[in-house]
């Protein structure tokens, strides 16, 4: 793999993100929604800072999901519709380098949201909301892992869809399926139940928001991320055959 190509794709994505409305929309929108959650959850007479922090980081789950799905939904489908995928496909650059560059961009924005948007609230508001540090750290790691997982699902959705709206629907459908499958896992036989429960996004995330770093959760999000990145590369490869 040629890292110079990957970094070129990454820099182009960053430049386009901060040079257009997308930067303000994703970062500003996430900050706005997070601020509303924090205001409701922490400035409403709640005395137990620990519970408030746990619930706050559970609410951050929804904002990172929305942010990452929006960020990724046009990532490949827009390149194809505007014809720029033809430029990438006909340049001496591999599909792996293209997807890695795009994923690094998603991971960077996810880190920016985790550190500078989610992470800053507990620090800036410490006088009013004494959030336990260990929950802030584990919760932030959980938000980051969930974010990159969602971004890779979004990349996959964007690679198979014909427009941004379909891409959004595909990504939401995959995430909802994983959620619902786990949610209804108790209705099934023992083995099926275990398998479906392990697919439950929420059950993997909840540990992080409670102040622990569950190994199964880390493995789930990282392996899921790699799986969807791999599938995205395979979809791009198959397009060269199918036209």
């Amino acid at each position: 793999m040629n890292w110079t190509n990957t970094i070129s794709i990454y820099r182009k994505e960053i430049k386009l993100f901060f040079g257009t409305y997308m930067g303000a929309l994703v970062l500003g929108g996430t900050a706005f929604l997070n601020a509303i959650f924090i205001m409701i959850l922490n400035f409403n007479g709640r005395a137990n800072y620990e519970d408030a922090t746990i619930i706050t980081f559970i609410s951050f789950m929804s904002t990172i999901l929305i942010a990452m799905v929006i960020l990724s939904m046009g990532s490949i489908v827009e390149e194809r519709n505007k014809g720029t995928l033809e430029l990438l496909f006909t340049s001496p650059i591999t599909d792996l380098e293209i997807i890695t560059g795009k994923f690094m961009f998603g991971a960077t924005i996810c880190a920016v949201i985790t550190v500078f948007i989610n992470g800053l609230f507990p620090i800036l508001l410490y006088a009013y909301w004494q959030a336990p540090f260990y929950i802030v750290v584990s919760g932030s790691i959980g938000v980051f892992l969930l974010g990159i997982f969602t971004f890779s699902v979004g990349l996959f959705g964007s690679s198979i869809a014909k427009n941004q709206m379909v891409s959004l629907l595909v990504s939401v459908l995959i995430l909802l399926t994983l959620w619902v499958a786990g949610y209804f896992s108790h209705l099934f036989q023992a083995t099926t139940r275990k398998v479906l429960f392990q697919l439950h996004i929420f059950s993997h995330y909840i540990g992080f928001s409670k102040g622990v770093l569950p190994l199964t959760g880390i493995v789930f999000f990282l392996s899921g991320t790699l799986l969807f990145l791999y599938l995205t590369i395979k979809v791009l490869e198959s397009r060269r055959w199918r036209g």
């Binding site: 182009k12 040079g19 257009t20 014809g83 033809e86 430029l87 001496p92 650059i93 060269r240």
Partner: protein, 310 residues
């Protein structure tokens, strides 16, 4: 140099191109001609590595686009029908990105970008956002990215569509200037431009290469199908036609039609038959009551060849 050997592509059951064979030498400018759906874009997309062929191979400067795509693509500059532009980047930033993914070395990158900006007359546009450019300038940016890094093969799909007459002249001269060091393949529906620009002509029909002409072969073919245009005076159309038919007596395959403007088009099966008719006409006209107002060989355009061949 481009070598295409038994290239075929199927989209499911649908055949796009079959058994394509041709070779373009260094310095040649070739035109790829064919009706919509003839397989031009599929051929170009395979040559540029965008698509993988179902069978066969294409070699770019000896490197297989199928087995060794990265090496082959290093030698290709490609302008698709719709220029592949990031509209939210400035012209300079866009070309800078392209130079990186084309692996132009950093020490040469700025110089190369300046060079293509100058060649495509984009000097006053380099800091402008691409989204604010007119269609003609966008096309130029597309061409600039295609020739960036001085690739040995330049492939252009409809390079002059959307350009104004002045830009077309500039583009023609730019493409001609690429000849010599580069191999250029152009697909276009504007056949007049192809004829003015190219020195090799590939006619595709239903996914197969029907004709592969160089300029002299094409001119020979144009000469072959060229009609004689004759205008007489001294009679009415009917008597003039009878006179011309009397000249054609004994000559096989000659057809005489009124062109609708007081003149006649004489189609002949061969250039020799045409010359024979002309000589006989010149010999007999002085003995007749008619005067010869016009006698010339009709100009044949590439469009006419195209319509006859595909």
């Amino acid at each position: 140099m481009i070598q295409v050997r038994n290239l075929s592509k199927f989209y499911g059951e649908k055949r796009a191109i079959t058994g394509l064979n041709f070779q373009l030498e260094k310095g040649q400018i070739a035109g790829l001609l064919g009706r919509n759906g003839a397989g031009k874009t599929t051929t170009i997309r395979i040559l540029t590595g965008y698509l993988i062929p179902s069978s066969g191979d294409a070699r770019i400067d000896g490197k297989s686009i199928f087995d060794n795509p990265l090496e082959a693509k290093r030698n290709i500059g490609y302008l698709p029908e719709t220029p592949p532009l990031y509209e939210d980047l400035s012209v300079w930033d866009y070309l800078s990105f392209v130079s990186k993914i084309k692996q132009v070395t950093p020490d040469k990158s700025n110089g190369e970008i300046e060079k293509v900006i100058e060649r495509t007359n984009l000097q006053n546009m380099k800091s402008r956002l691409i989204s604010t450019l007119s269609l003609g300038f966008r096309k130029r940016v597309g061409i600039a990215q295609a020739i960036l890094g001085n690739p040995s093969i330049v492939i252009m799909d409809e390079p002059i569509s959307g350009l104004d007459p002045q830009q077309i002249i500039e583009m023609r001269s730019l493409i001609r200037s690429l000849a010599g060091d580069h191999t250029v393949l152009i697909s276009s529906h504007i056949l007049g431009e192809i004829y003015k620009t190219c020195d090799k002509f590939l006619f595709l029909q239903e996914g197969q290469l029907r004709y592969d002409y160089n300029r002299s072969e094409l001119e020979k073919e144009m000469n072959r199908i060229s009609n004689l245009e004759v205008q007489l005076s001294g009679g009415n159309l009917d008597t003039e036609k009878v006179f011309l038919e009397s000249i054609a007596l004994g000559m096989d395959g000659i057809m005489i039609q009124s062109s609708g403007e007081g003149a006649f088009l004489i189609s002949t099966p061969s250039p020799e038959a045409r010359d024979g008719f002309r000589k006989t006409l010149l010999n007999k006209i002085s003995d007749s009551s008619f005067q010869l107002e016009l006698l010339r060989r009709q100009e044949v355009s590439l469009e006419q060849i195209f319509m006859e061949k595909v």
